[in-house]
């Protein structure tokens, strides 16, 4: 199967800054992907390259088998909702009418339902909307477009928690009936962790993790208890993070848990808990580039 998106050894340099550095990954059709990383890691630049808003300095990008730059057939199947999207100075209703003209798979019913869900005032001009409402408008456009490749770049700025939950809920519901390739760039990783099927983590422009979300989740665990037994349990295992509070200690250990480890933890009366995707990404992106690479190596 041809992937929806293929990024092959792509770099994007601006004068002195390398925003994307030799990135390579592929996104399958019909799945929800997370493009994760810290601020300034290169997520937005990658999305701009994929949607043909920019060209790579080197390497190649393919969307549905074609270089997306000025490629009409590839681009008419994409919809990119940006964090700070510029809108024409029109009412909400007219902005939606505009998007409808440009998105071949647009669904009016879904748009109307989402407008009601997010309580968007159709008659109000976009520049008079609050930040959260403007984000909601972007979400309505992104979902109602039903574009075969839909990219959301931090789409929830100013959106409160219930509205974000609504977004995830509606995304999943519509995705179930109309599977498409979705890319969600976010740093609220815990919120979207359950949505993601595959994750691409970027750090300083480089791809440090490109794996199934489930695979990533099992790659570390935390052990908590009295300092002595924790040290005994950890032994020669690789510790990514450690915290001592009084006589107690908490260590994040890289590796997968097996039955013997569970037994040992039981005997030492230690608590074992999985590490959240958010923490795993944090561990993968806070160390030196070498740490990040060894973390990725641990996945394989």
């Amino acid at each position: 199967m041809t992937p929806a998106v293929r990024v092959d050894h792509v770099s994007r340099r601006y004068r002195r800054v390398t925003a994307v550095d030799e990135a390579s990954f592929a996104l399958d059709e019909g799945r929800i992907h997370g493009l994760l990383g810290r601020n300034g890691a290169g997520k937005t630049t990658l999305m701009r390259l994929v949607t043909g808003l920019e060209r790579p300095t080197s390497g190649s990008v393919e969307v549905f088998g074609n270089d997306p730059f000025e490629h009409e057939a590839a681009l008419r199947r994409t919809c990119f909702v940006k964090e700070s999207q510029t809108y024409p100075d029109l009412s909400v209703a007219r902005v939606l009418a505009s998007a409808r003209l440009l998105q071949p798979a647009w669904d009016d019913e879904l748009a109307a339902a989402l407008v009601a869900d997010f309580d968007l005032p159709l008659g109000r001009r976009v520049r008079k909307l609050s930040r959260g409402m403007r984000s909601a408008l972007g979400i309505v456009i992104g979902l109602a477009s039903r574009a075969p490749l839909t990219l959301f770049d931090e789409p929830y700025l100013g959106l409160d928690a219930p509205s974000r939950a609504l977004f995830y809920d509606r995304l999943l519901a519509d995705f179930a009936d109309h599977p498409r390739t979705v890319v969600l760039s976010t740093h609220l990783i815990d919120e979207v962790a359950n949505l993601l099927e595959r994750v691409v983590v970027v750090d300083r422009g480089r791809v440090v993790i490109d794996a199934e979300a489930d695979e990533v989740r099992g790659t570390a665990y935390t052990v908590v208890g009295p300092a002595g037994p924790v040290a005994q349990f950890v032994g020669r295992r690789e510790v990514v993070a450690r915290q001592d509070v009084g006589a107690y200690s908490s260590a994040t250990v890289r590796g997968r848990l097996d039955a013997s480890e569970r037994r040992l933890a039981d005997e030492l009366r230690l608590d074992l808990s999985p590490v959240s995707l958010q923490d795993l990404v944090a561990h993968a992106t806070t160390g030196s580039p070498d740490d990040a690479r060894s973390f990725e190596g641990g996945l394989r």
Partner: protein, 229 residues
């Protein structure tokens, strides 16, 4: 549906911005007619005006603002720069055509009513509109196309090169004009230039404005082709 046509339709989703030049024109017209009436007994009062220029100048700004907002919006929704340019041109062509028709009608009305009963000239411009009625369409429409092209060019320049680019290009433009003036002076060619100006007819002037509009659109496309929004 072609993408360019879709782009043109998006521009036409709300035509209220296209009303600005007409609103300005209406205000200018009312002010002028009021003056004609108020000063009708003053000897030597010239009942002509440059008010007709106002919608064209307004159109430059309206086009610049509209293009700079629509460009990032439409590119995010999967429109190519080429389709954006093509669709915007279709829409601008439509606006220019409407301008031509409406102003020609108003010109005819003004002529038939002897300047709205005041003997004034608002839609009739000495020399420029002293042409057969069918030529009036082009005389009114082409400058509008040029105005919209200049607006799009300004927006494109800003989108591609930012404020610095605008500053540099206006400096380059000024330098080019200065160089041209210096060149003509050095070549002692002002007589030739003057002769050329005198030889212009309203229709050939319109032709040159059309060349300028097409040239501006061509340069705008070159600027937009690689723009990152």
């Amino acid at each position: 549906m072609s993408r360019a046509v879709a782009v043109a339709r998006v521009h036409a989703v709300d035509v209220s911005h296209a009303m600005w030049p007409w609103a300005i024109l209406a205000i200018s017209f009312v002010v002028n007619v009021t003056l004609w009436v108020a000063l009708r007994n003053v000897d030597g009062f010239q009942k002509t005006t440059g008010g007709l220029l106002s919608p064209y100048v307004t159109a430059v700004f309206v086009a610049a603002v509209s293009i700079s907002r629509q460009l990032p919006f439409m590119l995010g929704l999967g429109v190519t720069r080429a389709a954006f340019m093509g669709g915007s041109l279709i829409y601008a062509g439509g606006c220019a055509a409407v301008t031509g028709v409406v102003l020609t009608l108003l010109n005819v009305v003004e002529g038939a009513t002897d300047g709205f009963g005041q003997g004034g000239k608002f839609f009739r411009v000495p020399w420029l509109t002293d042409v057969p009625t069918y030529q009036l369409l082009a005389v009114y429409a082409v400058p509008m196309l040029l105005a919209l092209a200049l607006g799009a060019f300004t927006a494109g320049l800003y989108a591609r090169f930012g404020a610095t680019g605008m500053l540099v290009s206006s400096a380059v433009g000024m330098a080019a004009v200065t160089a041209a003036v210096a060149f003509v002076t050095a070549a002692q060619a002002w007589g030739t230039v003057g002769g050329w100006v005198v030889s212009l007819t309203p229709l050939t002037l319109t032709g040159w404005l059309l060349v300028a509009a097409v040239g501006t659109l061509g340069v705008t496309y070159r600027v937009l082709r690689r723009v990152a929004v």
